[in-house]
């Protein structure tokens, strides 16, 4: 039986660009699927097709057991969408926004009013309820947008990059809301560029690149693909890097492991086997040689590593890549 969100061979082209190039998805009821990929990978296009906003060129999509292409209006009754931008009317108050959405979900005026009050309370917006959304902070707008998507507590939710542009505190808060939601039985499809976010929230992850799903599985399964764990050390003094390198190479995987060194941050990384026991050994050995350390840790591969090993490039947007390029250059100069 297909899941609450099911897609088969979705294709959508915009001119020469194949935004979706045969995407298959299957999200079991009550679970979270993380659609992970860089900007332009096709995540938003997939969400737009599944939420009836865009007609695919070919393929099949079923949401909440209803055919998206044949019966879009039935699908709309069963979904909530929180897009990339906080889609709220900034000249309306929080309360007015939610009441309007409730009424457009065909709730009675009274039911829409009651639900709006309930959501404002729940999303910590009660105090700002009668101020126009224009006066809200970024985090508050996001919460209002999410509240609008939850007006009917839809069985299937779509969130397109829900935490993009939020500060860590607001992100944590939003994660809490999302987890609560899923605990209540909602099926969720979430797109994100943040690997940490997919790791944290999603049961299953689909890695998307150039309109195709290039890998799928649980976060652990994907991490297992990129190989084992590694030890990361930050030495206190720059001139002890070479000593530390020798130690790590000897204790690392196979006894002659390759050590990656970031001169600027004085961080050394080496693949290892042996876990915590080996970590203790590294600490003892560095101590014996008088290498003072600022930080040391056993690190499991992140989804970032997964992405790089799958696509050959990091899961970054173009802007972020440019920024990273600059940082790398600075690192090099500072290291001279």
């Amino acid at each position: 039986m297909p899941g609450a969100i099911y897609a088969e061979g979705l294709v959508k082209t915009f001119g020469d660009v194949r935004a979706l190039d045969g995407v298959d998805l299957d999200v079991p009821e009550g679970t979270v699927l993380g659609l992970l990929g860089p900007n332009g990978a096709g995540k938003t296009t997939a969400v737009r097709v599944l939420t009836t906003l865009l007609q695919p060129d070919s393929g099949k999509a079923v949401v909440a057991g209803i055919d998206v292409l044949k019966n879009p209006n039935e699908v709309r009754r069963s979904i909530g969408l929180s897009g990339q931008f906080a889609a709220v009317d900034e000249y309306l108050t929080g309360r007015e926004n939610l009441r309007m959405v409730g009424q457009l979900y065909q709730m009675s005026s009274r039911a829409a009013k009651a639900r709006a009050d309930e959501l404002l309370e729940r999303f910590n917006l009660a105090e700002a309820a009668d101020r126009t959304a224009k006066t809200y902070s970024g985090g508050m707008r996001r919460r209002l947008d999410l509240a609008a998507a939850l007006v009917v507590s839809p069985p299937v939710m779509f969130m397109d990059e829900p935490t993009t542009g939020l500060d860590p505190r607001n992100r944590q808060q939003l994660w809490g809301i999302i987890q609560e939601l899923v605990a209540g039985g909602t099926t969720l499809l979430l797109t994100t560029q943040y690997l940490e976010e997919a790791d944290h929230l999603a049961h299953d992850i689909c890695v998307v690149d150039h309109g195709r799903v290039i890998a799928r599985g649980t976060a652990d399964e994907l991490k297992a693909r990129t190989g084992g764990e590694r030890v990361e050390v930050v030495v206190h003094e720059h001139d002890r890097i070479d000593t530390a390198r020798t130690v790590l190479a000897a204790l690392g995987k196979g006894g002659e492991a390759t050590v990656t060194v970031d001169e600027h941050t004085r961080k050394l990384t080496v693949p290892v086997t042996g876990g915590a026991k080996l970590l203790a050994e590294v600490i003892r050995e560095l101590d014996t040689r008088g290498v003072e350390i600022d930080d040391i840790g056993l690190r499991r591969p992140t989804l970032d590593d997964v992405f790089i090993s799958l696509t050959g490039h990091a899961a970054e947007s173009e802007d972020a890549a440019k920024l990273a390029g600059n940082t790398a250059k600075n690192t090099k100069e500072a290291g001279k």
Binding site: G83, A87, L92, L104, Q106, G176, G184
Partner: protein, 283 residues
């Protein structure tokens, strides 16, 4: 964050469908747009200032030198002019509708609306209805200013109200053209200018500000068949104002009927096109 257990997922109530749902959804959206107007009163205010400025400029600058009905008389010109200014004012609501809808697209609100189980045309109908309210308000203020500069009606109140009805219908029809423009352009800025520029030839190649009998033949034909001219002519007849065209062109001989037909036709065509465009709209 208040921790509460989320209610068991529920689908939205079954839509009633049909014309009842269309009407209620449209009113919900219209209400939203009217609330917005009260929050940005300067937009309404500028909408009022513009036609008042036109009345003052045209009647005092051009009034002394333009010939109406064979005579040059500033007072006659002012009475001739008002029907034109009224008609021009209602058509300028087009730009507002276009900019508003383009802005909704830009901000992702159209996406939200399109993902809701609401009537398809309601977002646009709601907007055009709200614009109609604003237009009506503008017309009332403009009528007061017109009376102050010497404009009078001579055919009784019922006929004058009929003329205002025709004007509002024309404005409503034009706001659907604006809606289509708003859905077709990329930015709200483009919608504002795109919504305005074509209005200048439409309102000026007409009988609104000058007597068409002075135009060259081909231009006069365009002016006389201009939907805008039919409404202006109808207003002059219904208000009993000077300068009613003696032309034998059909819309000039049957201006009330012509005005009605034009407006209904514009609504039918542009509403269909705009709603179709809305269904596939992408920000």
């Amino acid at each position: 964050m208040t921790v509460t257990t989320e209610a068991v997922p529920t689908t939205a109530p079954r839509p009633r469908g049909g014309i009842v749902q269309s009407a209620t959804d449209s009113l919900v959206v219209a209400r939203r747009n009217l609330i917005r107007m009260t929050r940005i009163p300067e937009v309404v205010l500028f909408g009022l200032i513009q036609p008042i400025m036109f009345v003052v400029m045209f009647s005092y600058v051009f009034g002394g030198s333009l010939q109406v009905g064979g005579s040059v008389n500033a007072d006659v010109y002012r009475n001739f002019l008002m029907a034109g200014i009224f008609a021009q004012t209602v058509t300028f609501a087009t730009a507002g509708a276009g900019a508003g809808i383009a802005d909704d697209m830009h901000k992702g609100l159209i996406d939200r609306f399109r993902s809701l189980p609401m009537a398809r045309g309601a977002v646009l109908t709601g907007r055009t209805l709200a614009d109609l309210v604003q237009t009506a308000l503008t017309v009332v203020v403009l009528a007061i200013v017109a009376v102050l500069v010497g404009w009078r009606i001579h055919e009784g109140v019922p006929k004058a109200l009929g003329a205002f009805g025709l004007l509002l219908l024309l404005g409503y029809a034009f706001s659907w053209i604006g809606a289509l423009i708003g859905l077709s352009v990329r930015t709200p800025e483009a919608a504002t200018s795109g919504g305005l520029i074509w209005l200048f030839p439409v309102t000026f190649i007409s009988n609104a500000f000058v007597d068409t009998s002075g135009m060259t033949a081909w231009l006069r034909h365009i002016a006389e068949w201009n939907p805008f001219s039919a409404t202006v002519q109808a207003c002059r007849v219904l208000f009993g104002n000077p300068g009613v065209s003696e032309s034998t062109a059909w819309p000039m001989e049957h201006p009330v009927l012509a005005s009605l037909i034009w407006s209904v036709l514009i609504i039918a065509v542009f509403r269909t096109l705009a709603v179709r465009k809305y269904r596939s709209a992408t920000a």
